[in-house]
Symmetry: C2
Subunit: 91 residues, 2 copies
């Protein structure tokens, strides 16, 4: 078993209104950031997995997105996985 | 002026407890994802900026992090910027 780190980015689909992004955009404009055209806010989930292979780690991360982390009706997700040095499980 | 897309990832510092990550970890364990060792949840902010250069776009995105998007006491952030085709500002 090896350690892999999966980074999962979950973003609202482009057709879905993003009030948090709108609020951030307005706040940035009020702070003088006049070059900002659009802001969208999503979440990022970083997972450490012990799996036998990169492919297995990717499959587990994708399954986690589909079952728990993303709402497929409203959200898109992207997964990147890389191998990391063996580390003890964090508390 | 060109269009740039900045992707800003804001994560809790490693020393800061992440209850959202803990909850996701527990839920994944309950769903049978036994290989997951650690989960941390952060946010991702995607911004479209009109700036004269990549350097200017990066500087604006970094400034936005420091002034609004990240809490430097509790959070780390990372910024990546890439040029994108000219697009009209989204509504």
């Amino acid at each position: 078993m090896h350690s892999y780190k999966a980074r999962i980015t979950v973003t609202l689909r482009p057709s879905i209104l993003d009030p948090q992004g709108k609020a951030a955009h307005r706040a940035l404009t009020n702070l003088g950031f006049s070059t900002v055209q659009e802001v969208r806010v999503g979440k990022v989930v970083e997972m450490v997995l012990h799996e036998p292979s990169l492919e297995a780690a990717r499959a587990a991360a994708e399954a986690a997105c589909q079952k728990l982390l993303a709402n497929p009706v409203m959200e898109d997700y992207a997964v990147t996985v890389r191998r990391v040095p063996e580390i003890a499980a964090a508390s």
